[in-house]
Symmetry: C2
Subunit: 463 residues, 2 copies
Amino acid sequence: MTAETRPVDHVIAAIRAFLGDRITTNIAMREQHSRGEDTTTPVLPDAVAFAETTEEVSQILALCHRHGVPVVAFGAGTSLEGHVTPVRAGISLDLSRMTAILDVSPDDMDCLVEPGVTRHQLNDHLRDQGLFFPVDPGSHCTIGGMCATRASGTNAVRYGTIRENVMGLEVVLADGRVINTGSRTRKAANGYDLTRLMIGSEGTLGIITKIRLRLHGIPEATSAAVVQFPEMRGCVESVIQVMQLGVPVARIELLDEVQMACCIAHSKLDNLEALPTLFLEFHGSEAGVAEQAETVKAVVTEMGGLGFAWAADSETRNKLWTARHNAYWAAIASQPGSRGVTTDVCVPISRLADALLGAKEDIEASGLSAPMVGHVGDGNFHTVILVGQDDPAALERAWELDRKIVARALALGGTCSGEHGVGLGKREFLEQEHGMEALAVMQSIKAALDPKGILNPGKMFRN
Amino acid sequence: MTAETRPVDHVIAAIRAFLGDRITTNIAMREQHSRGEDTTTPVLPDAVAFAETTEEVSQILALCHRHGVPVVAFGAGTSLEGHVTPVRAGISLDLSRMTAILDVSPDDMDCLVEPGVTRHQLNDHLRDQGLFFPVDPGSHCTIGGMCATRASGTNAVRYGTIRENVMGLEVVLADGRVINTGSRTRKAANGYDLTRLMIGSEGTLGIITKIRLRLHGIPEATSAAVVQFPEMRGCVESVIQVMQLGVPVARIELLDEVQMACCIAHSKLDNLEALPTLFLEFHGSEAGVAEQAETVKAVVTEMGGLGFAWAADSETRNKLWTARHNAYWAAIASQPGSRGVTTDVCVPISRLADALLGAKEDIEASGLSAPMVGHVGDGNFHTVILVGQDDPAALERAWELDRKIVARALALGGTCSGEHGVGLGKREFLEQEHGMEALAVMQSIKAALDPKGILNPGKMFRN
């Protein structure tokens, strides 16, 4: 078969008819779309298409569907699990130019955005209206990508994940049909929950082209604090107790002594030491925030915390949370030229100490460097296992360590992924986690909605 | 075809082999399972089967699947939308004997229950452990039924609906296979959200046999209050403002002057008058509760509220909320021998005044009696349109009024059902609300999971 007769070439030509130079086979652009921020083997898409409207996405999918050409949605390319790697080539459908904030309703505290809007862009836009969007993965990711991977972040412990903050979606189906899901009401009992089905479906059931988000009022008062601990157990036991007391903390983040060393170096946190540390934030009224902080202070003091350092002014707070959001990059920077294999387990809160201290033992035994950081109020933590760019043996050891950490989390009633998703990297665990029959149900839904299997093939399921 | 050769008779005989006298064709029992608390035309099932284990449910479904016999799950029979009416006869599968509370974990604030457990039974069981389950429809419904219909109630404004309070399910599929969905973690990004797909699927995708619920700590402090208003506008505008201010009210319920007259008579609320009224509850710390109440007091005062009557002690509070939960029965009792057609619209909070005052005009114009009560913090309100038991003309007028109220809610960006579900009564609105294509997606999922269409046929979809 010559290159000209391949279905994908036919599709590229047909797309070019309406996208013009917004579809490209330029090698540099294809390389840029060959994987995300992960360690998967890059695969070049046949072409990269930059869609700017729902209609264009619909036309592209209709064409790909007709000709059986794979389509992989691409946002900011920050996936850590291989979601955007086009393992079967085809079209990388880049939505990062769909950046319109279509409406904001302060009265109903919601907004409608296109999928390429980033959380930073949205929050900059909202600030003057006294509103904010809380879901904050540690990257410059797009809202579309966050929906597709069921993302969360540091605020989820109080405000929920993207799942709880999306009211409805516009989705283009595999064959180009466009549907609207959900409603603008706070609740509804009006048919199957297609919104939640699409959230976390990782581009395998449809392409999200509009998102209606729930917003939140900027709290009257905000305060943040840092507590360091001489050893990890007191640190993690503090988290468990704070959660069990029902304190409505806005953020409660744990960084181990290895991660703290990275952050101190990378983000110039000169007043802190390389010790197990909690970063905390409280939202509410002035009195409410003070009350929450008092309760937490009593807990951490009892657990051996070394003081309770306030980050009272917004500048200090911003520095703290910027450091936290840059934790991944701080880890990478600690070993120049390395990449990170990121674990993402999540366990019931009562098992957090077992999962986390066990993971630290596994890291120790592996001989690898793996800073640890976590959204511990949700029972979710990451290790960034550092490996050299061209060290396949170390990469294999990193995956081995990942498997060990996941196996322990599953044995403790947890999940392989709290927020990064399945993609390529976590497929092997799904069967164990859900069982064969539940996985078969997921696959029957996939077959019903994407009978030709063109949407992000090879992801989530192994077969 | 003689009665003996019908597939259903074969199935009944096969089920009798393992259920014994827990499957019955007794006419009184079939009548009891011929509809819920609604005004649909009763239809007798061919038999009623009382399952006591997942294994039995699985065997029954496998048999019904093989022989193409309809199965309608039945819990407490409190549906208001015809969910349990076996419109195509078959087996009414009664799960009300599956009442085990299998485990409660105070450390993880969750529990595992069978579907026949009622919310009252669960809360009685939990009380000594300082925990509660917040979702509270106004009836003695089962947790399984609440999951199937995506139920909520008075606490949803603060604690979310059943959707936000279910962590995972055990579900028997149409062909008898058993799956487990979800996880015990607070969040997960590990595959399609089958839990949320089953929640609100009204027995059309599978039969729920176990439910893992999220629990909440009994708040340190609780206070309740009643505010009456000379006219409805101030009452509903107060609600909108309280919600827009972000006050975390635990409950904010509106009763119009007609409903109040019913409740005063039925529940002996002698100190209250037949005026538009808000019932409020605040949860939190002592200081937090006082702060919330102060904010709300300022709002209602500005809106013309006639004082702010505290229900400080738990006895007064219980009387108040029992009256609220009995509102439906109070409405029915106001016209002895009547039945109620219940509307259940829900709108974005900014449109609540338009929806509610418009509905009152529609009621006025209809000449029917229809007390109004609502979970207004969520934008959700009900009218109980009273019609005589044997008055088909009045029933038709009631449905006409229902259609008008729904049409206005849809035009305001709302939904036909906030919490009662679709069943038979709201099918006609789904297409308008979701569009043909989204409805087609729902139906393709239905076809994938229940290819023979045995699970609660005739519900949710018109064809």
